[in-house]
Amino acid sequence: MAVSTLYTTQALNSACSISTPAKTHVGFHQKQVVFYRRSSKRVGGGGSGVITCSAGDSQTVVIGLAADSGCGKSTFMRRLTSVFGGAAEPPKGGNPDSNTLISDTTTVICLDDYHSLDRTGRKEKGVTALDPRANDFDLMYEQVKALKSGIAVDKPIYNHVTGLLDPPELIKPPKILVIEGLHPMFDDRVRDLLDFSIYLDISNEVKFAWKIQRDMAERGHSLESIKASIEARKPDFDAYIDPQKQYADAVIEVLPTQLIPDDNEGKVLRVRLIMKEGVENFSPVYLFDEGSTISWIPCGRKLTCSYPGIKFHYGPDTYFGNEVSILEMDGQFDRLDELIYVESHLSNISTKFYGEVTQQMLKHADFPGSNNGTGLFQTIVGLKIRDLYEQITSSKAAAPLEATKA
């Protein structure tokens, strides 16, 4: 029999605010038993005076996303939350500079909120935001662990406009918690809490091209300043951020195209989805025949593509010592029927209906990457995460109820 510590609770609504100290070996939460004195009409089985919170109610699936592109506002985040349904919005009525996004099912937390040093502090100590010394991993671990166990937390807010740490905001445990930022997989305790992790790996040439697009209109910026900024951050990036990719369950690698010789505009992209084998509740996407090696150019007699066309590759590989499957797309979609055609030939994409990937891509046609592998793979990863969530929650509901042996 599992013994839980007694806590007083203020309200029992959707999430039980009690943590259970013991976990099963697969990390599922045991049923949580609540004893209270006053009887309430809300309780169905009021005779015995016991409320049981089923584990399904307070189950939180935690996803980690490592990206160097700002927080909770990136295109990837928007696609992810869109797949789960609903639009993610900043918390209503709170700090307008909050980085958090909340939708019906998902809460996205920006890991910059766990900076231990604000902008002035970092300047004094001579550390960049990329440096682990600027971040409070103990707090990050405690709060992610609490949210995962169904306990709400008061999370600090890092204000990117003022560069200061603002008073905390209350975060309630959601069904799906996404932690996005520079260091989701840096600390091994936090890493162990993640049910799935993604690393967005942008190559230097593409990063440069994107930052030019982002910054050239700004007064003060020039090609040189953009380049200098990337170069100056590179040592810390390579030392602290890049090594996280070996731990990721999925890596989305963005490279310049190989279809156009000497292309340096970064508009046509070659994107590789590197998927770890053997991850629980995650079956990698494949082309035609799982585990084989495929080279596929969909353009031909049935499908006409405009220059430079589309090229796919799929096959097994190893990545930092792990067995992986890699699905790669080079080129871009110019027409809807190209996208539908490609979707119909991919397997294990975890769609609920035919054309769901296409529909999601069209929904956000104005987002960057909607016509190439970045949008395609981000959307597919979103669907895989939905699938993972449903597998985890349904297997928990099926778990035998044993806590009432007392």
Binding site: R214, M216, R219, D236, I340, Y341, L362, N371
Partner: protein, 135 residues
């Protein structure tokens, strides 16, 4: 609803309905990519179509723009001595931080067409920040 017939790689014939929302294939054209137009200046003039609505947002925009310029200058100065020094790294990291913050704001306003202060200002319409910007 139009349907497509496709031969999948396994050779089976499938009837695939095209979703009815598919009306504008142009939506996938590359010109939709954000980088084509330099629209950041347009925001400060046009409050109507997807620009800043509240004074607070305009103030933030302005502040971020000024900070970018100021911090680039600072970084260039600091790095003149030693490009590999910590001070130089931190200075450019600050430039990156404010550049990204500005870009996020721009994305919010242009693509999502939502003023970030919307929900705050509904609760607090009398504050200075929530004055509606008039052209």
């Amino acid at each position: 609803m139009a349907t497509l017939r496709l031969h999948s790689l396994t050779g089976a014939r499938e009837e695939i309905p095209t979703p009815s929302f598919v009306s504008n294939p142009r939506m996938l054209s590359p010109s939709f990519h954000c980088n084509k137009k330099r629209v950041s200046r347009r925001m400060t003039v046009n409050a109507m179509g997807g620009g800043a609505k509240y004074k607070g947002t305009l103030m933030r925009e302005k502040k971020l723009t000024e900070m970018i310029e100021k911090k680039v200058t600072e970084a260039k100065q600091v790095c003149e001595g030693d490009e590999t020094s910590d001070e130089c790294k931190v200075a450019w990291d600050e430039v990156e931080e404010v550049s990204q913050a500005k870009a996020d704001l721009r994305l919010r306003l242009e693509v999502e067409k939502k003023d970030p202060l919307e929900s705050f200002c509904q609760e607090n319409p009398e504050t200075e920040e929530c004055k509606v910007y008039e052209d």
